[in-house]
Symmetry: D2
Subunit: 352 residues, 4 copies
């Protein structure tokens, strides 16, 4: 399904760099890493001989799934893992083969892959956020001393300086930059619970295996699975929407300044009109508002998706899949748009 | 942007037949029809000579836009029309050339194209809805006499028959089928307002031109533009979510029946599990719930998008574009899933 | 629970006239009418002797419920009807007593009471909507000829007249006025299904009884119950949000005009500031935006509440109760605010 | 405005203890504390003589506002502070009188009062959350060893123990308990910015005054105002919905267990039915689902409300007021309901 429908609109909402983090290739690479880490964990627990584990992980690493078959079977299974694992079982051989996927379940692979995708997304967002903050500092250095009409409740209040409004844009972004760092830490969490979340197939070895997988994947083992407790994905969704909301506020301010005129702002490269050649529309500013309201809409669905039934809810889980990648891509597109918008500001405020 | 992220998930949420209605090709074909109808309307009003109009419409019909350039320029303009019209102007020649796009604006083309896309979407949905109703009749004919435990507030109430529950599924779908017919009529409405919605460039000829365009495109002329009054797209969004909600209720019932066991329902082709080979998960039933909650989430954004600023809001308009095609595709996917789900029911209720 | 928290804010969001339609008194009066109509229906079907029915309905009419006990027991039952009926049973006597509430269930009383409340709400809204349309006509008569800067995508486009913008406010409101009339008709629908929705306790008499109740209450009998098919309440919710959205767009326009200054608009009675005595904030205009976004938020929950489980869902039903009265009151408050806002406009546009 | 409409329903959704935190009395007490702290801050900065400040704060402390007048004037001003301050100015006298409210603005008082209300709310929630966790430990101690059917994707998976499911309920609640502690710290933040957020009226004294107010009120001074950056209230909203979502998942599990029957769960005190005396409906479990979906709906509006225009947005600010108190009260009611629900569990799982 394509948000926005037409391909022509891709540039308005899409973010290929973020989208790539949710591609089939990235997903299956995560699956592969998980299955390898699991085998190594089983070996650490003494459930597989070290040499056999090494042999099996080599085979897993070399496996290339038949994506078309997974796409087709995924409709029936509601998740790509069963077919992936079936193919992988056909692919591998050797004494450790019966221990492939041992103790794990579809959700372990899927959620851990999501965690890895989000970590990778957040790296991209973090870099862009730093860039945007630098750029806002530059804008403040360039125009900060200019006089600007402060506006409260849609009415001229008193005047202040361009730097004062820019500061109200930068402060929440700095807070988000710090919190994104914290989110990256908190959200590096392994999903591992087995069929019903209690790792019962591994008995006393569960903890050793879990810690080993987490360590190999560079994740944290929280001491238990979180199949039906969706804290990490919800935290990501909340953050994505808070980020786009903060940028949307900047977009709205710029659109309002553009409406008020050149004493407030002067920009280059506005949108043209098919009917009125004289116009330069603050399209990128509007777009930031759009992206903010889009994520503010979608975040509700992520909160609804907290109501997983019993030990695993297909209904709630699939809802996350429909929403969270879009929210991340929207956040990415919003940061790109914000950068382009600030870049296009020729002058902000009235020079003395 | 891709809802659901991975391509493997396409089969869960996508509907290629609906998606095609929002493709670039379909969009540009609508643009072409509009520009031709406009020229013919101008001719009817005596603003263009008949022969010149015929020559110009032939050229418009033959025009093939440079989509890549539109995609790129669309980011700046926030709408594909200015670049489309620019290319078209370069393409055409002759005495009527100055009257190309005369009196129209980007929003006239975009909204009318949306109206045409929705009409086409609704035809598809209508056919499927009829098919689903037939299928439910068949299910009732097959299993309707079986005894079934009625459940109120998550507790066994008294027993009734399978046909009774199937009736509670069919009745709202029949109402929606009738309302979809009405929606198709109401929503066949031309958008035409020119630069600021009042058709002032056409003066006294506005009504003639508008009626002519509407007639040629098989649409209704409501007597005025609706650039900032979003009734038609909101009606579509509400309907899409009511449709997926009604189907989601069926999905939830089936999932609950599957949970209660074979006295309630027996289905074929359930989803398999990577950890528990004995399982047959009611994945399609869950999916109907997912799609319902997805549209129930998105509909909020369409209501937010009612707040168009002044004569045209880029921010609110782009939000519609991000949401409405997805909502239509979700409705399409939901109907396909419902059909597959009912098809998979081997038995409902307990035979006497 | 109080939206907005503080009592001081009551004037911003509340509408006592609408709220009264959802009071306990109104609810229990509906219950009483339903139980009387049911007895009369049973008499029509020959299940109760005419004289006994007359005696019983007199007793029902005279019954005054112990509201405090209903409030307390309602927490346990999740619905006020069981305790209401229990008290009523204690209150009445005579030969028809065993037929009290016969064939009905809690949801029949609750949903029918809601239908009656909504009909009453819609009468109020309809009157106000007519008043607002008149007032807008007056504004147009007064200032319509003034020149006004049309604004598209937050940029000055070309000029038109104040009447042109006022027309874009009036047109969707006229459409809503017509649709409200249609909604009032469609939504006058009896809920009557008995324990599990199929009226099985009444056997062949179901249709007679149902038609009789509907006729006595001035409602339509749709031929079946709609316990789990929530079309009527959803239609109301959609409409409430479309109404507040349309008024919110007016509010936003006025706020933007106030920002642009006195060539656009001049109003009396703006809000004062604790820090800047010179300010006159367009508070009522802002409030229309607030109320629009509030209903656009809540409507999502009503769409989520479509997923009633099986024959009756307490969870989804209670969600409707939390949302729909608020949405109606918000619509009422929005109409009052719109009236006050238009009233306060001293001048719109620039006189020639 | 009253969520849920009828008073009879108050017990389902309301939480008087939480509601009291948003009462007029509590609000005006916060205002009074702020104005006193401001005077003391001005004294610390040498702008008011110490003795005069002491005299003025005594007068402020003794002031009792005319609430009716504030309610009435609040409609015009869209905020209660201007009228409160006007009354206060009339009330006080002495040499420091001109410095009353000096450097502050309405939003400083309102937002700081909100911060104080939330801190108080969170204390209540925190206590209840601890109590609920204890109670769940007790349930696990009592029934944890019983065998229970684990359910994934609405199908029986393998069996585990009651303690395993209870653990999936407790783990996210423990995480929320820890995060609530962190939230209480982060959200103790003073709002202080003056007319347009930059404290310009205080010049070089701004920092001294701000630190003094913060210290007196037991809050943190973040170094700048946050008039248009809504991090703290958004964090509260996200948390409220995550809490109700986590409890809603428990409610849904219990309702599903009640549907599956007494091998899963046995409860006392279920809801009665007006039509079927044999029923015991899991009403409190359903209610937890309702409250979760309610907050998951409202949270979207709080994210929309991030888009404050320029230095202060009445529209976005009032939207917060409509939503956040309800979300807090819903969280409170949800914790009370969860406690009652767990209390009512007589047996969970099948004893060996």
């Amino acid at each position: 399904m394509t948000a926005g429908g037409q391909r022509w609109a891709a540039g308005l909402y899409s973010d290929h760099q973020i989208a790539e983090r949710f591609s089939d290739e990235t997903l299956f690479a995560s699956f592969s890493r998980f299955e390898q880490a699991l085998v190594n964990g089983l070996a650490k627990a003494g459930l597989v001989a070290a040499a056999d584990a090494a042999d099996l992980t080599r085979q897993i690493a070399a496996f290339e799934p038949d994506t078309a078959a997974i796409t087709e079977t995924g409709i029936r299974d509601g998740v790509p893992v069963p077919e992936y694992v079936r193919q992988l079982r056909v692919h591998v051989s050797g004494p450790a083969k019966p221990m492939l996927h041992h103790g794990a379940t579809s959700q372990d692979l899927m959620d851990t892959a999501t965690i890895e995708a989000l970590a990778s997304v957040n790296l991209v967002l973090s870099e862009r956020l730093h860039g945007l903050l630098d750029q806002l500092s530059g804008l403040s250095a360039r125009c900060g001393g200019n006089e600007l009409q402060a506006i409260t409740r849609m009415q001229p209040a008193i005047t202040f300086h361009a730097s004062d409004r820019i500061a109200t844009w930068r402060q929440p972004l700095m807070a988000l930059r710090d919190r994104l760092f914290a989110l990256q830490e908190e959200n590096r969490v392994l999903q591992f619970g087995g069929a019903v979340g209690d790792l019962q197939a591994l008995g006393d070895n569960a903890e050793i295996v879990a810690r080993s997988i987490a360590s190999e994947l560079g994740l944290r083992w929280p001491g238990h699975s979180w199949h039906s407790a969706r804290g990490p994905v919800l935290a990501q969704a909340n953050f994505m929407s808070e980020l786009t909301g903060t940028l949307g506020k900047i977009g709205q301010d710029v659109a309002l300044m553009a409406l008020r005129g050149s004493d407030d702002i002067r920009m280059s490269g506005g949108g043209s009109s098919s009917a009125m050649p004289h116009k330069q529309n603050p399209v990128t500013a509007e777009r930031l508002v759009t992206l903010a309201r889009f994520n503010a809409t979608l975040v509700s669905g992520m909160h609804q998706a907290q109501l997983h039934e019993m030990e695993r809810s297909g209904a709630a889980w699939m809802l996350e899949w429909m929403l969270l990648p879009q929210m991340c891509e929207t956040a990415g597109a919003s940061l790109l748009a914000a950068f382009a918008l600030i870049e296009s500001i020729e002058k902000m405020g009235k020079s003395a």
